[in-house]
Amino acid sequence: MARVTLNKKTKLVLSFLGIALILLGSYLADEMIPASSNMRMFVTVLEKGAIYALVAVSMNLLNGFTGLFSLGQAGFMLIGAYTYAIFTIPAAKHADVYMYFDGGAIQWSIEEALSGSLGIVGHYLGMLIPIIGAGLLVALIAYLIGIPVLRLKSDYLAIATLGFAEILKAFFQWNTLGPITNGSNVLRKYATYDNSIFVVLIALISIAFIMLLINSTYGRAFKAIRDDEIAAEAMGVNLFKHKELAFVISSFFAGVGGALLAMFQGTIAATPFTTTMTYEILLIVVIGGIGSVTGSIIGAFLFTACSEWWLRGLDAGTWLGITSEWFRPGFRKVVFAVIIMLIVLFAAQGIMGTKEFSWEGLLSWFKNLPANLKAAPAKNKAKAQAKKEAKARDKAAKAQAKEDKANSAAKAASGEKLFEPLPVYDHVVVFKEGK
């Protein structure tokens, strides 16, 4: 098995090329595909997939790499989405958006202020700053929540974080906060991006940051905590500090993801940020492989492609040319449930397990493909032969065992002794010379 080895520089160049290609592709896709085309779904999947990939990777950092089973992701996304939306609604639109709260308490927009003074640069800065601000606010809240919650373990931690997420959801719908959060009404008309490249780029940068973190000493400490807390502590890892760090960083990116999701949707309300959303993200992590960043990314795109595009027909009546009365709203969820069960039963490792994508692995696969294809028939034959032999051996052993049993039964029935005791020696005997 020839394995391709590349030096660090080549890998770096390849990675940059790959990233550039993805960015260019997403830019062109959004520009070129007309709004009326069916392929427009591709752009939707690209944007939502990138957002879900970011959130899934941030959840994986917590669940897969630090071993903290947290289910608060939707709650943190909610804060992120709201923070972004609140500070980017243009002043003129406030009266309309906050119609039940006399135009709301905040009468300005960061985006508007900055694009007024800096033009196009200000426009993008005005979106970036609220996004990062959303992340920071979520990180702060996560820090405070983490102090009591991270002292809990496994399922207790999951329940506590789930509870906090629910509390946050209720909090943001509280009428008294209406002038800021618009109560249980939707927020809309806030600034959003013009091209998918914006979302994809931010998701890429964030994921790259998390990957660098995982491959640093901090990442090793996280994995050590996941595998054995006592051993990690004995090596000098400050357990609480590192758990808090992972929690805060993960929440920061969940907040960023939430802000991006708000931009993607165009309107935002607290109701969709339910536990179901957390479970969707958890599902992506599991499908991709707990403990694999690339797995989460692949899982996110597969999931969004299925739920937004490929399996849509299952709800609409016709799918892959098949029309059935079974295909009615909700059937897609049934199919999803079945897929999840199959994955958990037969591929609990997920798509990537704990492995990561590497250029060397990919190139080696391509390089070995012809040889593997050529060798496959012989290999399969040898495998089948070995299987056959093993089967025959097992069969013979089983037959022998059956015979032995029958013999024993016959002997026992006739009162005969089943075995002769071994000779007992009063000195040491050697059966076979030791090594």
């Binding site: 097992d394 052993a397 022998q400 065992a401 032995d404 049993k405 024993s408 039964a409 026992a412 002794k417 089943l418 075995f419 005791p421 071994l422 007992v424 020696y425 009063d426 000195h427 040491v428 005997v429 050697v430 059966f431 076979k432 010379e433 030791g434 090594k435």
Partner: protein, 234 residues
């Protein structure tokens, strides 16, 4: 009397036991010594039906127990006290002990045996309400042996009872093992601590990578230069 004849066990493609012959006669302590990975634990597990046997037979008195289920083997009076103690950490000492009598129905006899077990391990009697996890290593080992004895075994198989214990505690445990043997329980002992095991054994087998390489009375093996060099570090 337990008799193992030509026992073969495979783990996937690995031939872990390659034809083992062992006798455990009544009223004796038999020990099986050998290095890590020699197949000692596998031998005990396959006797109990916890790993599949490929070939060979295991007899218990005049009964073929080769293909019997573990629960039936326990009913026949053979019990394994597994390596690493495996006590139930969140059950109390008393609950742990009563779990050993799971397959028994004779309430009065069980009560009697409970008294007997507590008389063997007075330290456990002081701690009946303590949770298993809060015991020290030595006490946990005592609890594991006590639990095994509650099945009223005729053959008690002990897998590394000295694992991770201080020399003084090991001495205690081995004294209790001898006491149990003197009360009519046959004992099969697996040990890394060859010296302690051979000292109390009537007969012993030396195992090496899946085969029995030596056998003899415990005292004779202890004085054998080859055993001393390989297992006693002298």
């Amino acid at each position: 009397m337990l008799a193992i004849r030509d026992l073969h066990v495979y783990y996937g493609g690995i031939h872990a036991l390659q034809g083992i012959d062992i006798d455990v006669p009544d009223g004796q302590i038999i020990s099986l010594i050998g290095a890590n990975g020699a197949g000692k634990s596998t031998t005990l597990k396959s006797i109990m039906g916890l790993v599949g046997k490929r070939q060979g037979q295991v007899f218990w008195d005049n009964l073929d127990i080769t293909s019997m289920k573990t629960k039936d083997i326990v009913k026949e009076g053979i019990i394994l006290c597994p390596e690493g103690r495996r006590i139930f950490p969140d059950l109390t000492v008393d609950e742990n002990i009563m779990c050993g009598a799971y397959l028994r129905k004779d309430k009065e006899e069980i009560e009697k045996d409970r008294e007997w077990v507590y008389s063997l391990f007075p330290r456990l009697k002081e701690r009946t309400w303590q949770l298993g996890a809060t015991l020290s290593g030595g006490e946990q080992q005592m609890l594991a042996v006590a639990r095994a004895l509650m099945s009223k075994p005729k053959l008690l198989m002990l897998d590394e009872p000295s694992l991770g214990l201080a020399p003084l505690i090991i001495k205690d445990i081995f004294a209790i093992i001898q006491k149990i043997a003197s009360e009519g329980v046959n004992i099969m002992l697996i040990e890394q601590n060859a010296k302690a095991a051979l000292e109390i054994s009537d007969y012993a087998y030396v195992m090496e990578t899946g085969v029995i390489t030596m056998a003899g009375p415990g005292k004779a093996l202890m004085n054998d230069p080859r055993v001393q060099q390989a297992y006693l570090g002298e």
